[in-house]
């Protein structure tokens, strides 16, 4: 009897607890998601969602102004060039890190050295910086080997970490005196000055940010107390959660069919995001047959851009893309909105193919798309169909990201063409073009072209040392033309994203934040957003 009553009690309490399940949440939350896994280390971040985390948790010396208003100081009060190879930045005073420590020039130097010594993330932006020194507690001096025009813009990506806090939590590691550079510590802790603190970071599941009440710029009165970023959630699940009010901001990677369905829902708004970014089908310029410019031109002219554009249609009115006119994209210096897009011409393509020294029937093209982004598959298929028109045989592979980044480290293993999306890391064309197309930059996912064009190299080198803006525009437009003339790569379309957001957060504060920033990851500035 005793046994039975015990079970009855348990069962009863179970039923009661299930029935009475309801909660009143005291804290406001914004939930968002991303296909990839997140990185919370300021020296390692590189991707879209990593940027979101870092921009909210750390601050840099400079920031992007809204609506393309250029660069503005953030942790700095201003900067000057005493000579073309030197940049002095003066720091804001009294800014506090999450630990309570106060920001000074040593922190900036330490952050820079940490980034460069670890050699990951955005360290590639600072290749021409020779040294960084603290002139005094509130001035930092950057010395470059040559005049380096994009430096200030690049500083947006130098997240400043709390030197004392990180050093106090350093363990033995691969970096000599610097131990592990706080690598282990910064996996799940934040040592920044940002508007949010990292409270939980599981790179495979979710990242949780909580409000930093001491933030020096303050928050929107209705800014969320907590932000949850979830990783690799199925689109159907996201849709369900959005409709149930259990998710606020979706990633930008939802399939068009889902977006089309969401556009009919009242509880969800689609926010159009014009962003400096583009989809490309990156041709491997060093592997036969695409080491011959004629073969590249042939495929460039054979590619069916109209069909591709059609593939971006969500509904009759909404198209998640804009025809591409080259490497320069909206929001980046030098972009010309009036430049005509690239068009298909199959007759010309066949004529070019005839000039190519390779016989297409001898080649099986190895075309790839990134398996994590199913969105990209049709564009690889389109290329396959068009390549076959030219007489090639072609296979299409969905490559997992990790495998792609491994294969791309040697040009022999890099696929003949890979669909990749590239977003502008900073609003400067150098960061975009030099990293992708300079012949010295082969071997990363961004430079799957293994471009090897002396004319282009010369222009790109000139562009980064030129400080006159008007001249720079000319140089980069010329470089853009070389890109097209020599068919360095195939531009699929420029980026227009539609990000569904729930009515929970759909308001002018949130939407303007979403739309008015250009740099990758900058648009999810949670402190400026509002929860209804």
């Amino acid at each position: 009897m005793k046994k039975i009553s015990f079970f009855k009690t348990i069962l009863l309490s179970l039923i009661i607890s299930v029935l009475s399940f309801s909660f009143v949440s005291a804290k406001t939350v914004i939930r968002t998601d991303e296909a990839a896994i997140g990185e919370a280390d300021p020296a390692k971040f590189s991707d879209n969602i990593d940027s979101v985390i870092i921009f909210n948790v750390y601050d840099a010396l400079v920031d992007e102004g809204k609506n393309g208003s250029g660069l503005k100081p953030l942790l700095s009060t201003g900067w000057e060039y005493p000579d073309p190879n030197t940049l002095n930045v003066s720091l804001k005073s009294g800014v506090k890190f999450h630990s309570g420590n106060t920001l000074d020039a040593d922190d900036v130097v330490y952050s820079f050295n940490r980034l460069m010594d670890m050699g990951q993330g955005f360290s590639f932006l600072f290749g021409s910086v020779e040294s960084v020194t603290a002139l005094d507690a509130s001035t930092v001096q950057f010395k470059t080997t040559e005049p380096f025009a994009p430096l200030v813009a690049s500083l947006m990506r130098l997240a400043i970490v709390d030197k004392d806090d990180v050093q106090a939590n350093t363990v033995d590691g691969n970096y000599g005196d610097n131990g592990d550079y706080g690598e282990a510590y910064l996996l799940s802790t934040s040592a920044g000055t940002g508007a949010y603190k990292l409270s939980e970071h599981d790179p495979n599941v979710k990242t949780v940010l909580v409000k930093n009440d001491d933030y020096f710029q303050g928050h929107n009165a209705k800014a969320p107390d907590e932000v949850i970023i979830k990783y690799s959630v199925e689109a159907a699940t996201i849709k369900a959660l959005l409709l149930r009010g259990e998710h606020e901001i979706s990633s930008m990677w939802l399939p068009n069919e889902v977006l089309a369905a969401l556009s009919k829902e009242d509880s969800v708004d689609l926010v159009k995001i014009n962003r400096p970014g583009s989809w490309m089908n990156k041709l491997n310029n060093r592997r036969a047959p695409f080491d011959d410019v004629h073969c590249r031109r042939a495929i460039q002219l054979a590619y069916d851009y109209d069909a591709l554009y059609q593939s971006f249609a969500i509904t009759d009115d909404l198209v998640a893309g804009q025809k591409a006119s080259g490497a320069l994209i909206a929001g980046v210096l030098g972009y010309d909105p009036n430049k005509a897009p690239i068009e298909r011409d199959i007759e010309k393509a066949k004529a070019e193919q005839a000039k190519c020294k390779y016989n297409p029937s001898d080649y099986t093209l190895d075309l790839a798309w990134i398996a994590e982004v199913p969105y990209e598959e049709p564009w690889a298929l389109q290329l396959q169909a068009n390549a076959m028109e030219l007489g090639y045989d072609a296979t299409v592979t969905g490559l997992p990201w990790a495998k792609f980044t491994e294969q791309v480290s040697s040009w022999e293993n890099t696929p003949h063409a890979t669909v990749v999306s590239v977003l502008a890391n900073v609003p400067d064309p150098d960061a975009l073009m030099y990293a992708q197309f300079h012949s010295s930059r082969g071997g990363t996912w961004m430079s799957a072209e293994w471009a090897n064009d002396p004319e282009l190299d010369a222009l790109l080198e000139k562009g980064r040392t030129e400080t006159n803006e008007a001249e720079r525009i000319k140089i980069y437009q010329a470089a853009n033309q070389v890109m097209i003339d020599n068919a360095i790569t195939l531009f699929i379309t420029d980026f227009v994203g539609f990000q569904p957001i729930s009515k929970n957060v759909s308001n002018s504060d949130t939407i303007s934040t979403q739309q008015q920033y250009g740099t990758m990851g900058r648009n999810l500035s949670f402190r400026e957003m509002a929860v209804n």
Partner: protein
């Protein structure tokens, strides 16, 4: 051979199998081409850094030495660093395994609670309408891929009848209980936090069902066959002639022997369900071992892959030992058979 000896032997064999699995997975992981260090460090790493990581991971040693180091570390409870999450693998496993464990246990529970009664109904009323319906259900269960179940359940409960949660382990607005076992149901009960308990329980239902449905079919079919076999046995006739009640015959004389083969197969079903968890966790955003497993495999994270395989194997071996023990309880006669 007495019971104790039997179990010692059983454990011994399990340990051999465990090492066998470790060797198989280890060799697989190391012999196949591709540089895990390069993948781990990402696109911008220099050659020196890759070489340094290769050194740290002992990738330049011969495979025997690598295995030796691996086993030595294993006994120290050190599974190495995951190049995917960049954390110690042990941390990953501690945070993901309980979720999968809880889920598979739930599936096991559903499998037994639904599968056995379904099979009993079928076997008891053989060739009636009840039997045919039950058989159809179990057949559909068996032949439908788990991921299809997941999608169907997701469709039904996410869009049409939104009464059950379709993602994660608990509502994130609730405060999670203090971590003791990692099993939310247990931890919340320990704290007396019934709200979390109920919430976690609701979250378990759909993914648990998606994993269990194929196994439910299996268990139901087996129970049916065994039960009808047993009902044809003489001692049941005997019991009937003593005019024992139907219920008593069913529970006391028919069910116990009929359940032995079913219980035996449950061990294998658990292995099967663990596999299915790989498919279902992705759909229901379950932060478990399986989702982690898929990710580390894609990322060629050697330590992660080996650890995942070993944890799952160990779990499987333990479940099988428990199953053997239950079979022994049901029928002590089978002990000493060599």
């Amino acid at each position: 051979m007495n019971t104790l000896q039997y179990f010692l032997r059983r454990i011994f064999v399990s340990i051999i199998v465990f090492f066998g699995v470790s060797i198989v997975i280890f060799c697989l992981a190391r012999l196949i081409p591709g540089d895990p260090a390069r993948i781990a460090l990402g696109p911008f790493a220099t050659d020196e850094m890759v070489e340094q990581l290769r050194e740290t991971l002992h990738l330049n040693e011969s495979i025997f030495i690598q295995y030796g180091i691996f086993i030595e570390k294993l006994f120290q409870g050190d599974l190495g660093i995951s190049t995917y999450t960049k954390r110690p693998v042990l941390v990953d496993i501690i945070s993901y395994f309980p979720a999968t464990f809880e889920l598979v246990l739930m599936s096991g529970l559903l499998m037994i609670l639904i599968g056995m009664p379904l099979g009993i109904l079928s076997g008891k009323f053989k060739n009636s309408i009840i039997d045919n319906v039950a058989r159809l259900i179990s057949l559909l269960g068996v032949v439908t891929p788990s991921f299809l179940w997941a999608i169907i359940l997701m469709l039904i409960f996410a869009f049409w009848f939104p009464i059950l949660p379709v993602s994660e382990r608990m509502n994130e607005a609730l405060d999670p209980p203090t971590l003791v076992t990692g099993l939310l149901l247990v931890d919340s009960l320990l704290e007396g936090n019934f709200k979390v308990f109920g919430d976690a329980f609701l979250h378990l239902i759909l993914p648990g069902l998606a994993i269990a449905l194929p196994a439910i079919g299996n268990v139901a079919r087996l129970t049916r066959t065994n039960l009808s076999d047993v009902y044809e046995k003489q001692y049941i006739e005997f019991a009937k002639s003593y005019s024992f009640s139907e219920y008593r015959i069913a529970t006391k004389y028919a069910l116990k022997p009929a359940s032995i083969p079913t219980v035996t197969i449950i061990g294998l079903d658990f292995a099967f369900m663990l596999g299915n968890a790989f498919l279902v966790e992705t759909v229901f955003v379950w932060p478990g071992m399986a989702k982690y497993g898929v990710e580390v495999i894609l990322a060629k994270d050697l330590n992660g892959i080996i650890a995942t395989a070993l944890v799952i194997t160990t779990f499987f071996l333990i479940i099988n030992m428990i199953v053997d023990f239950v079979v022994l309880l049901l029928n002590p006669r089978i002990t000493t058979k060599d």
